[in-house]
């Protein structure tokens, strides 16, 4: 049978196969090289002192504790702000909304939000939160900006998992005389907890990696901000990504930039792994339908 295929066809197949292997190989090799190179250049520069101090001009030392703290603050605060709204709007779309046109419009709006580049978020965040609402350049302004940016992610994942909750659960709860909110609170939301967790993890990934939206909202300061001051207006601070940008582009201090890149890379690996684990769980839960 194989012999009946002309040499020309065989050659064409071979070329296509080679190209496919080459493309996939290039991508894998690139990723391995990227990870290897960043860790190789970054890890040697990470010391305990580097992680636990703030930069000091007097002593001419660099530490990234403020940036680590700012990243944590921003992640925590953004999730606190965006999670209730995101879950609420997913529940609205899936459980409450009756007007199909309105649902379409909301879904279109969500897609639009997901497509807006982060630099535009940064600019609009600056206009709205820093200037118009006079939060000043602050973590708070950054948090509000990122909350808008991550809303589509949370909405989408929660909505997906709400859809996997079987209607029989709802009918059962309602048939037993439960009110709609009571049904959502006790039956629907607990069954979609995996989706909520996945949405959170994906959002955290987006927040940790974000820089353009924070440059003009959260600012570039490297001072340590206490936990209780973090949500207050006018407390500017740079996250790890913004710090990386400043060290690399503005100061040309590449050792420090690579050290931060290595930390970010490890964080990305952890977040990806967590997202994969919860997404797998979500899929398994979904098949029970």
């Amino acid at each position: 049978m194989q012999n009946k295929i002309s040499n020309k066809r065989k050659a064409a197949d071979l070329v296509k196969n080679v190209l496919m292997y080459a493309a996939t190989g290039i991508i894998l090799l690139f990723l391995v090289f990227l990870i290897g190179y960043i860790l190789f250049r970054g890890l040697p520069n990470i010391t305990l002192k580097f992680l636990s101090t703030k930069p000091s001009l007097v002593r001419d030392t660099v530490g990234i504790l403020p940036n680590i703290l700012n990243t944590l603050y921003i992640v925590l605060m953004t999730i606190i702000v965006v999670l209730p709204i995101g879950i609420g709007s997913a529940v609205y779309l899936n459980e409450y909304a009756k007007n199909k046109k309105l649902v379409k419009m909301i879904e279109l709006a969500t897609e639009t939000l997901a497509g807006i580049p982060s630099i535009i978020y940064g600019l609009v965040g600056m206009l709205i939160f820093v200037q118009f609402l006079s939060f000043g350049t602050s973590l708070l302004a950054g948090v509000m900006t990122l909350a808008i940016m991550t809303l589509p992610t949370i909405m989408r994942t929660v909505q997906e998992s709400l859809k996997t909750v079987p209607d029989s659960y709802r009918e059962g709860a309602l048939g037993l005389g439960s009110g709609k909110w009571h049904m959502i609170r006790t039956v629907v939301l607990p069954s979609s907890i995996d989706g909520i967790v996945t949405g959170c993890i994906l959002s955290i990934g987006r927040i940790v990696g974000e820089s353009a939206a924070l440059l003009f909202t959260a600012g570039m300061a490297n001072e340590i901000i206490s936990f209780f001051n973090a949500p207050m207006p006018n407390n500017a601070g740079s996250t790890l990504t913004v710090a990386l940008y400043m060290y690399a582009k503005e100061r040309g201090d590449f050792d420090i930039a690579f050290a931060i890149a290595a930390i970010l890379l490890v964080l990305t690996l952890i977040i990806n792994l967590a997202a994969k684990l919860t997404a797998d769980k979500l899929k398994k839960g979904g098949t029970g339908k």
């Binding site: 496919m20 894998l28 879950i87 639009t112 497509g115 353009a212 994969k276």
Partner: protein, 314 residues
């Protein structure tokens, strides 16, 4: 289906309010009130995304239009020189528009074939284990922050381009294209893969039964059948590339020139980012106008994307 459930739910809410006993009525009244409050809260939540889009649009229009009016639409969009601090300032953003367009186009030319070939491989040919590994790798590529791409671009790609083409400086449009083509890979691969997998198995079986090889079948039957999904992945990649700011800023040289492959260039995104911190007056207002232009580009791309997806469904 959903409507039926909704009406059933509403009836049950109404039904909950009619128990007879006095104490029961008070409790039910409270429950009814709570249901109403939650209904309002959820509706407000549902409308936030819509409200945000409107607020963003209004703020961009209000802050972007005045400068365009002052400069003149044609001088602004088609002016070839951006010299905001000169004695006679010029505010032409054609260099930024064309750099963004060329940069994005270049990234698509390089990124899409590689991404598509990879998507074809993992969806149709790869053994299960290898496919999973490649998929994880692509996910990881998607998760790496853009400043990290920018840093690696600055340290590796820029010097490499400088050496390879014997240039005084490697920070140029070409380096930006390389970095962008890597950054669009994840969207291209994952969306194309989904599209290829969605092609009915019967197409493939029919082709194989007619004596075509597996490779011929995939490339001549399956991929063409998945073309609208693949097109959607390309449009998504365009959106990614045109919106990227930080990585481009770090590798493109950032001079406001008309685009040349080996010349220092500034994109729409980086034009906004690079002068925002120190500009004032009309220059600052013009930056908002640039953001407005970028926003309109993105809206157009979204519209195209929606059109493709909608046509696919029909």
């Amino acid at each position: 289906m959903n409507d039926a459930i909704n009406s059933a739910m509403n009836n049950s809410i109404k039904g909950a309010a009619s128990p007879a006993a006095g104490a029961g009525r008070r409790a039910a009244g409270g429950a009814k009130l709570l249901e109403k409050i939650m209904n309002v809260i959820f509706t407000i939540c549902g409308l936030t995304a819509l409200a945000f889009v409107i607020v963003i649009t209004v703020f961009l229009l209000v802050s972007g239009i005045p400068a365009i009016g002052q400069i003149g639409l044609f001088k602004f969009l088609l002016g070839q020189e951006w010299r905001p601090t000169a004695a006679e300032p010029l505010y032409g953003i054609l260099p930024f528009i064309s750099s963004s367009v060329f940069g994005t186009f270049g990234a698509i030319i390089i990124g899409v074939p590689i991404g598509l070939l990879c998507a074809i491989y993992i969806s149709k040919f790869a053994p299960r284990g290898i496919g999973a590994v490649v998929r994880d790798a692509v996910q990881l590529l998607a998760g790496i922050p853009s400043v990290v791409y920018g840093l690696v671009g600055m340290i590796i790609i820029v010097p490499l381009v400088r050496e390879a083409f014997n240039l005084p400086d490697g920070a140029n449009l070409f380096s930006a294209i390389i970095v962008l083509s890597i950054m669009i890979l994840p969207s291209v691969i994952s969306v194309s893969e989904t599209a290829i997998k969605a092609v009915p198995k019967e197409y493939e079986e029919g082709s194989l039964a007619l004596g075509a090889t597996k490779t011929e079948t995939v490339f001549k039957i399956v991929v063409p059948a998945a073309r609208s999904g693949i097109l959607a992945s390309v449009v998504l990649g365009i959106g990614r590339a045109i919106g990227e700011a930080m990585a481009v800023m770090m590798v493109s040289g950032n001079a406001a020139n008309m685009p040349k492959l080996f010349g220092s260039v500034r994109f729409l995104t980086t034009a906004v980012a690079s002068e925002m911190s120190y500009s004032s007056g009309l220059q600052r207002k013009a930056l908002f106008s640039i953001a407005l232009v970028l926003f309109i580009f993105i809206l157009l791309i979204n519209m195209v994307l929606n059109f493709i997806i909608k046509r696919k469904k029909d």
